[in-house]
């Protein structure tokens, strides 16, 4: 991504570079310009993923908004832990804050939402944020751990009849959530959790930073690469010679159906990089805000949240109308399972999309209303 291009096209203000001092109430602008805040994680690679997705989303949002005399702009802030960056963006007048990428970022974003600013979570899959930790102004574009687990179970149990699962957990909060969600998903589909020696599949229920060693251990133990499963795109970030396993994902750069090819192609042309899950979620978040501004004339948090809650049929290039669940504000969406390619083609990424999951009943992925522990404050 060209820094010059970003500056010209999106008026990005990098608080990371400015040490935060650039974040102050901006001068009055025309009423038809709306600011969206973006909290960038410390990890440069993740930050790039997030920023690229948001930039393409901004382009797409403005392709629509400018036709109707409106414009979105993006302001970024470097995550300094906790809620500071998000709050600073909100104080600076952001209509919405996008973030949740990186350790603890989801909790920080939740606090921004609790303050009253619409927060779009594009990085934290934690089930807790959709249950006891939910907030009325928080909307989750990123799939949840439960959705991932259900996607894996649909694919492995319902399609491949791999009924016996073992869990390799690390005791981390993410690992505990993943194991808990997987046990529910497996039991619901008639499968069982057994000792590793007797298992058809080994689930890696670990923090995303522990994926690489956990996967290496499973392979060293003789587990076949397509009999190890995990959630999220951490597995896809591994080096090609380490790539293995089956991964439940919200997006993959190989997708073609439902105009996914066009979106992947536009991202690749813009950044010369593949469109991954985090970038997709950031793209979707910006586009959602743009549609709210145009379709509902949303100009404040109340109107923006009301638009999101009205379940507008969002087109995420997944072939279905994506809508937020009213009971936990999770975006309903099909997911995908990626795994080792059957063909040996070095020119292609080692992990390909093996299945798309959930399209027939999007509420089969994730926490059902009856099971939700989310209680929005009035």
């Amino acid at each position: 991504m060209s820094a010059t291009r970003i500056g010209r096209r999106t008026f990005l203000v990098s608080l990371a570079a400015a040490g935060g001092s650039a974040l102050r109430p901006r001068a009055a602008r025309a009423e038809d310009v709306f600011t969206v805040g973006l909290v960038l994680p410390a990890d440069p690679g993740r930050a790039t993923d997030l920023q690229r997705g948001a930039t393409l989303g901004l382009d797409d949002a403005n392709a629509l908004a400018t036709l109707f005399g409106k414009r979105l702009r993006l302001e970024t802030a470097a995550d300094r832990g906790g809620v500071a960056a998000g709050r600073a963006l909100a104080r600076a007048g952001a209509l919405a804050v996008v973030g949740g990428v990186g350790p603890g970022a989801g909790e920080g974003l939740r606090e921004v939402a609790a303050d009253g600013t619409v927060a779009l979570n594009v990085g934290a899959p934690d089930d807790r944020l959709r249950n006891e930790g939910c907030a009325r102004r928080a909307f989750h574009v990123m799939p949840s751990v439960s959705m991932y687990a259900d996607a894996l179970a649909q694919f492995l149990i319902e399609q491949r009849k791999l009924m016996r699962w073992a869990v390799a957990g690390d005791g981390s909060p993410r690992g505990v959530e993943t194991e808990s969600a997987a046990r529910r998903s497996v039991a619901r589909r008639g499968g069982s959790v057994v000792e590793p020696a007797a298992a058809d599949v080994l689930l890696l229920a670990v923090d995303e930073r522990a994926v690489e060693p956990a996967l290496a251990r499973a392979l060293a133990d003789g587990r076949a690469p397509d009999r190890i499963a995990g959630v999220g795109e951490a597995g896809l970030r591994l080096a090609p010679d380490q790539a293995a396993g089956l991964w439940a994902l919200g997006w993959h750069h190989d997708l073609e159906r439902f105009s996914a090819r066009e979106l992947n192609s536009r991202f690749r042309r813009r950044f010369n990089a593949p469109l991954g899950e985090t970038s997709w979620a950031a793209w979707a978040a910006l586009k959602l805000v743009g549609e709210a501004v145009v379709r509902a004339n949303a100009s404040d948090g109340v109107a923006l949240a009301a638009f999101m809650e009205s379940a507008p049929p969002f087109d995420g290039h997944k072939g279905d109308a994506l809508t937020f669940r009213r009971w936990d504000h999770q975006l309903r969406q099909p997911l995908y399972v990626a795994g080792p390619r059957k063909r040996d083609d070095a020119s292609l990424a080692p992990l390909a999309v093996l299945a798309d999951v959930g399209g027939k009943n999007l509420d089969a992925l994730g926490t059902a209303m009856a099971d939700s522990r989310c209680r929005f404050a009035p």
Partner: protein, 321 residues
């Protein structure tokens, strides 16, 4: 012997004349087959396949010249519009169209072809005889469906990512209005009097009805089906009915234009996409993408009267009228 030859010649001429007369009276139906890389030709009188024409890679959008002598086919993987001679049933030219052409429309006078360029966010205006690009008009993001008003003055181009219709003035060759419609608009069709247009919105599952003079949506018709995914749309020549192919619910919605409401759904094959109606309005042809077939609907009876096997993954349909 000489007499016999003369008689034979006369008989041949009479036969040719009869064939020509029939050809003029009965429409030929052309179906693009996306995975077959062919165009199927169906005799509209018998509803039998009379020819299958190899055209090139990934044929989707299809249209005919007003005189029916030429069939145009968008070849997505060849990046051209193939020009098929209807008489010889061979490809006689290939017009460069830009990347991955999907949809286009032929002007009522047959002089121009309007093509959406999905990657470039533009519509190209081609000379239908030479293929020369006469103009390139910026439109919304990810343009797809193209239709021309009956008087040829306006072109509608749907844009799937911006959810808009770009209204192009064909004299000025520029976009003169943008209309916001339902999520992911695929195709549009004008009523014969040009006062109304109907736009399918695939993700929203609705039909946006547009007042053409005012450039505004006057009604949004919900298709009461789970995930109907409407795509193809056509209006009956009498202007009273519109028909929408619902790729998700495997049926065709019938819309009462005057009342602006959906009155019924006619079950067809799996994944109906393209739809076309005969000049007399008696028959509707629907391309069933996954069934590899075309459903023929009797519009008066509102039921399927024939199902015709075609090549792999039929996408678009055009009728030489």
């Amino acid at each position: 012997m000489a007499l016999s030859v003369k008689r034979l010649a006369l008989l041949s001429l009479a036969l040719l004349a009869a064939v020509a007369a029939r050809a003029a009276a009965e429409p030929l139906v052309y179906v693009s087959n996306e995975r077959g890389n062919t165009v199927t030709v169906i005799d509209g009188a018998t509803d039998k396949v009379v020819a299958t024409i190899p055209v090139g890679k990934r044929p989707r959008g299809i249209g005919t010249s007003p005189d029916g002598k030429t069939v145009y086919v968008a070849l997505g993987n060849d990046n051209v519009i193939a020009v098929v001679d209807a008489a010889s049933r061979t490809v006689k030219a290939r017009f460069p169209s830009g990347s991955d052409p999907e949809a286009f429309a032929v002007s009522p006078d047959g002089a121009r072809i309007y093509v959406s360029n999905e990657d470039a966010n533009t519509a190209s205006v081609l000379d239908a005889k030479t293929g020369k690009v006469l103009a390139t008009v910026p439109v919304g993001t990810e343009p797809e469906g193209v239709s021309v008003s009956p008087d040829g003055r306006l072109v509608y181009v749907t844009a799937e990512t911006t959810h808009t219709i770009s209204v192009i003035d064909t004299s000025a060759l520029k976009t003169v209005a943008t209309i916001l419609v339902g999520s992911r608009p695929r195709e549009s069709a004008f009523a014969p009097d040009g006062r109304r247009a109907f736009v399918t919105a695939e993700i929203a599952g609705v039909i946006s009805v547009i007042d053409v003079a005012k450039n505004s949506v006057v009604a949004t018709l919900k298709l009461d089906r789970p995930a109907p995914k409407p795509k193809g749309v056509v209006v009956h020549p009498n202007g009273k009915w519109a028909y929408v192919a619902n790729g998700g619910s495997n049926d065709v919605a019938v819309i009462d234009v005057e009342a602006m409401r959906v009155t019924s759904f006619i079950p067809v094959g799996t994944r109906p996409w393209g739809v076309a109606i005969t000049g007399d309005g008696k028959k509707l042809y629907v391309a069933n993408g996954v069934s590899d077939s075309v459903s023929v609907i009797d519009t008066a009876a509102q039921k399927v009267v024939a199902t015709i096997p075609v090549d792999k993954m039929p996408w678009g349909i055009a009728i030489a009228k």
